[in-house]
Symmetry: C2
Subunit: 379 residues, 2 copies
């Protein structure tokens, strides 16, 4: 018997205000009745991913944030720099619920057989607005978790697992045979190491600290290079010669890393070609920027010939590209490996008010590798 459902519940909201601030608050909202193809999920665990921060923080200056209200009902207010304010013009005055994914128990279901089948089950959902005690979502956005799976273990079933698999699928779709990944010690990076090991895909991991080299090697990673060392370019070129990787996914975005990867790919390709070509090698080299850990400008030196491309990469358009069949295939694979290949680790668990404590906001806004927050909304 599912627990009884309250009439109202708490939801975290982000509001860009015309006074050039962003306000994070908890709001009491009505709990909706599910439509025929919907289920109502009691959200029991929902992670704070880097991909949530754009909507949550709106580019605010977190260092200047202040909090008001009691500890169990905090309101965070932070100033928005002028450039962020321009970019957020479309959001002014519109409270936005936040949270790409989470997991919990289905406590009410619509009339359709697919919805009814999930009643009482533990599901993961990628519905958005998951930083809430209850969330009503269409069944197509739900993944039924294997019997006995805890919500905590299913909370990150979509964004990181599908992104890791999406990188591998993109590699195949675009005729590459190996991968480069930056910020490779992240939860996502560790997942990618496990996926690539299972599929015997050569993976060049780029990290920034020696302990991250050790961590990835302990997971079985073969190629790990540290961008903070003087030998970085030579080490990366050597790994690219061995792996022939011509596709990279870069989570940092800003700075020179994308350009350095392309330059090393070109050096590896030119060494393989042997002779001088005035326009560089004919091997196509591609970097997708899928994050923005460094929000500064991307600087391209263009010392990598003419056969190159850079672009943004997002999970949603990728999923549209592979279609429903592809999505189902990847989801089933994730469900089978939630506590192994696709396991996520969290350093901190917080309640909804706890997610608005200033020290927590400061911590997750840094997107520090190895530090990851999980919200337990009904705590």
């Amino acid at each position: 018997m599912p627990p009884s459902v309250p009439a109202t519940a708490i939801q975290l909201q982000s509001l860009v205000r015309s006074d050039e601030t962003v306000q994070l608050s908890l709001e009491t909202v009505e709990v909706p009745d599910p439509g025929p193809t919907e289920v109502l999920v009691r959200v029991e665990a929902t992670p704070i991913n880097p991909s949530d921060l754009g909507l949550l923080l709106a580019g605010a200056d977190v260092a200047a944030a202040v909090v008001s209200g009691p500890p169990d009902w905090p309101v965070v207010t932070a100033p928005l720099p002028a450039a962020a304010m321009r970019a957020m013009a479309g959001r002014v005055g519109v409270p936005m619920p936040v949270g790409n994914e989470g997991a919990g128990t289905v406590v009410a279901a619509g009339s359709s057989p697919a919805a009814q089948a999930l009643l009482g089950k533990t599901v993961a959902a990628a519905g958005g607005a998951m930083y809430a005690q209850y969330r009503c979502v269409d069944v197509t956005l739900c993944l039924e978790l294997p019997d006995g799976t805890r919500a905590v273990d299913g909370a990150s079933s979509f964004v990181n697992p599908m992104t890791a698999l999406g990188m591998v699928e993109t590699m195949r779709l675009e005729n590459h045979s190996a991968l480069v990944h930056t910020a490779a010690a992240s939860n996502l990076g560790q997942m990618l190491v496990r996926v690539c090991t299972e599929e015997k895909i050569p993976l060049v991991n780029i990290v920034r600290r020696p302990e991250q080299v050790d961590l990835l090697r302990s997971l079985g990673a073969v190629y790990v290079v540290n961008s903070a060392t003087p030998d970085f370019m030579a080490d990366l070129t050597a790994a690219l010669k061995e792996t022939s990787a011509t596709l990279a996914f870069d989570a940092t975005g800003g700075g020179r890393l994308t350009s350095q990867i392309l330059a090393c790919m070109e050096a590896a390709a030119s060494a393989a070609a042997g002779s001088y070509s005035r326009y560089g090698s004919t091997v196509h080299k591609q970097v997708y920027i899928y994050g923005s850990l460094d929000r500064g400008p991307t600087e391209l030196t263009r010392n990598f010939g003419m056969a190159w491309g850079i672009g943004g990469w997002l999970l949603t358009p990728f999923l549209q590209r592979i279609g429903l069949d592809g999505i189902v295939r990847l989801r089933n694979r994730v469900a089978a490996g939630l506590t192994t290949t696709f396991a996520s680790g969290y350093t901190d668990q917080v309640s909804l008010p706890g997610a608005l404590a200033l020290d927590a906001v400061a911590a997750y806004s840094r997107q520090a590798t190895g530090q990851k927050y999980l919200i337990i909304p009904n705590r």
Copy 2:
């Protein structure tokens, strides 16, 4: 009756030397007998295109160039900066002939019917090594010019016309409906204005000087914006809203222009979409960098959502992409419009020794819009 063929003739060569200089000189080389499918062309006109300068100058510091030898047999020597020297490692000690394209008379032909058919004809050829008195090329690299066409009018039959048509073809292949072009007052840019006018393709021209705005308007260009004015971003966004252009070809490469174009495309797309999206518009925005008038780094602000791409664009891979049928179709179109749509203008005509005069080298190395050199090798 074709003119008699000498045993030796003059060829311009570029040599990167281990002492970190580049040397431009004239060399006497043997005139080869054409193979069965080849023709020997007496080169009568060959342009100095921006795309020739990489091979010719090898990144040398032209301002520090010196000349030795008599005026009719000059040797130019210029220092190579360290970065250029590293990039040119594969060329050290190997003299390179230069010149992507040109036109002239077929004075000898191989035994194949296709070769024999060209004997005595005026042809354009995209064979490389055209800065020479004679050049032996395969017939597949030749375009027979319409009867009565002068070699001077056919000298630029390939690079600029095929690039202009390649931009339009790429637009269609990649599902865009309008174009943006930078350095738009160039010979190529003027050609693109005429092609787009004929095909009713909306074209946004970006130039840097008011007189270039006037020039393009006099050719019938509808959208011309000046990147040197304070209103540039607003003007460009307005033109992009009207044209819905989501594909740009950028000849400058370095600096912020590519980023500015993407930002204005995003502003236009967001205005059309109406509502806020956290990852920006879903409209894919693409810039191809096909030149490097600004050799500095490309700086991307990444304030244009996630649906974007940047890449290098080169004529040769594009031609491979459209295949022989496509190439023949475009070539025939060029041949029919050599003195109209695809006409080129030259500000200076020089002999082979004249191309090595220091003032000429300084002038064409600047790639100034509206200034173009034509070499007359048998002068």
